[in-house]
């Protein structure tokens, strides 16, 4: 089952390994990203950063959707991490089961609107968020589990 879909441009890092993995009780992290599977250095850094007891799978967004839809991920408590809001939308449109979409760290861009200390969204991001909400996902802003969780209302 899917525990959480998180948008975090840093993918796996301190907040993930020390706080989120324990908080949501996942046993497998799926990085859904089109660039990382072909980037050996980045992939190795992520493999070394993962918590030792957690399985890590790295796939393109398309392959991630196919894997989830095939049922092979059903036996895991899955934590899906994507780099940006567009990829989150692709995941939500591609498969069922994303009840919660968490915006953790979203980079500041030109003309972006701030939704939380570490979350900045563009017009396109807001459109993507609306699409995910229309598909039934609850979208929230929460950097670390100890922070207040704020549901995004656009």
């Amino acid at each position: 089952m899917i525990k959480l879909l998180r948008v975090d441009y840093r993918l796996i890092h301190g907040q993930i390994t020390t706080s989120w993995v324990a908080q949501i009780g996942c046993d497998c992290i799926l990085i859904a990203n089109d660039k990382v599977p072909g980037d050996v250095l980045r992939k190795n850094a992520l493999k070394l950063a993962k918590p030792p007891e957690t399985k890590l799978v790295i796939k393109t967004v398309e392959d991630s959707i196919a894997a989830i839809n095939s049922g092979v991920t059903d036996k895991y408590k899955l934590f899906v991490i994507v780099e940006n809001v567009q990829d989150a939308r692709r995941m939500v449109e591609g498969c069922q089961g994303f009840e919660r979409v968490n915006l953790g760290n979203v980079r500041m861009g030109a003309k972006s609107k701030q939704l939380g200390t570490t979350v900045f969204v563009s017009e396109q991001d807001m459109e993507d968020i609306r699409v995910m909400q229309a598909k039934g996902s609850s979208v929230d802003v929460q950097s670390i589990p100890r922070d207040k969780c704020t549901i995004v209302k656009l």
Partner: protein
């Protein structure tokens, strides 16, 4: 209650506490004591006060920056004090392990955190990532 005091030469203690805030959030039970920053303050007195401030049934874990350094030396003289634990070699993985472990026994918590921390001090150039990609 278990309290943690970070004591270092200069601002290291305050800085590492700021790093903790980013990674796991605010920690009310952790305090930083930055020694020798203000010449008007007497560090020996500050150490004495922090030790005398340990109330009955409370525990104080002090993490200092360096074995043999004056900061650690100041605390060494209180090792017989009940409820006082002194660990030196402060670093972020150690501090995070101490703060996130559910272990209730302080001695075991310190022992386990020190073990866990050792795996996190690594010469990364010599690491080899697994060649194969994991799949479901």
């Amino acid at each position: 209650m278990r309290k943690i005091l970070l004591a270092t030469h200069g601002e290291f203690a305050a800085g590492i506490l700021d790093s903790v805030r980013i990674i796991i959030g605010d920690e009310e039970k952790v305090r930083a004591l930055c020694a020798y920053v203000n010449p008007e303050e007497n560090f020996s007195e500050q150490v004495k006060e922090s030790i005398e401030g340990i109330e009955e049934r409370d525990e104080l874990v002090v993490l200092t920056d360096m074995l043999g350094g004056s900061v650690n030396n100041e605390f060494m003289r209180y090792l017989n004090r009940p409820g006082f634990y002194l660990v030196t070699g402060l670093n972020l993985p150690l501090l995070i392990a101490l703060l996130t472990s559910p272990e209730a026994d302080t001695v075991r918590l310190i022992q386990e955190s020190l073990e866990e921390m050792k795996n996190q001090i690594v010469f990364c150039n010599e690491l080899k990532a697994e060649e194969e990609n994991e799949d479901f």
